[in-house]
Amino acid sequence: MSEIRYENFFPIEGGTFVNAGDVSSRIKSILKNLGVGSEVVRRAAIIAYESEINIVSYALRGTIRLSVTPDAVCIEAKDEGPGIPDIELAMQEGFSTATPMVREMGFGAGMGLSNIKKFSDSLEITSEVGQGTHVKTRINMAEAG
């Protein structure tokens, strides 16, 4: 377990797009200020933003945890909401249960979780129907390729 250089929890309100993306912009500038490499910052910001959109789109409320170690940036999104009955199905690109409000914002095309997977080095999703969803991601500092 490597030592945590930075850790913070950001609360997200569900059901409204008014501040959607605000936390992700903050996470992006925090990581930049910590001197994290630009490609890692970019991937973390995209993951945080899709996570934030998921919380505002589906949950009552949630929290995004940002932690930084010398080896990795971790973004963890935990929400109180309906949960995901079939995670494998939800991971399929194009599968969506989004409302028209979400679609009007340019999301809800069933790409959120696949984008999170695409930009992370590891992804772990646990969910309980009627309780909520927990999405843990890790982006390694050493950039592949």
Binding site: A20, G21, S25, R42, Y49, I53, G106, M111
Partner: protein, 128 residues
């Protein structure tokens, strides 16, 4: 190509960022689906879109998009303009449709930030 040249090619109105028209861009991405923009757009590119809500600006901020071009004459809501000013992301508005906007810029040398899915373009030297 500078944003000023792009404004002229597209006969566009500058809604935000009139002091940033010297900014150079070489690549662009066109889409109305922000998840696609997040999946494929590259830093320093133009975003051509018909979507006008504040999430377009948020998405652009997350990705270091150089400027947003609103197509089909779309007028953005006040909160979109306010957020773009706050985050210093230029917005230009053109009456050309997305196809024409993309075509006119491509003809003058702006290329897609990727050519096709799964095949990255060779580095064209975008600056963030």
């Amino acid at each position: 190509m500078t944003l000023a040249e792009i404004r002229d090619i597209l006969d566009a109105e500058v809604l935000v960022g009139s002091d940033e028209l010297g900014k150079e861009v070489k690549t662009a991405f066109s889409a109305d689906l922000m998840s696609d923009v997040l999946a494929f757009a590259k830093p320093g590119s133009l975003l051509l879109t018909g979507l006008t809500n504040p999430q377009v600006v948020r998405t652009s901020d997350i990705l270091d998009i150089a400027a947003i071009i609103l197509v089909r004459g779309k007028v953005p809501p006040a909160e979109t303009v306010r957020l773009a000013k706050e985050l210093k992301i230029p917005i230009l508005r053109t009456r050309y449709i997305l196809f024409e906007t993309s075509g006119r810029l491509h003809e003058k040398g702006i290329v897609g930030c990727i050519e096709k899915v799964g095949g990255d373009r060779v580095d064209v030297g975008n600056k963030i």
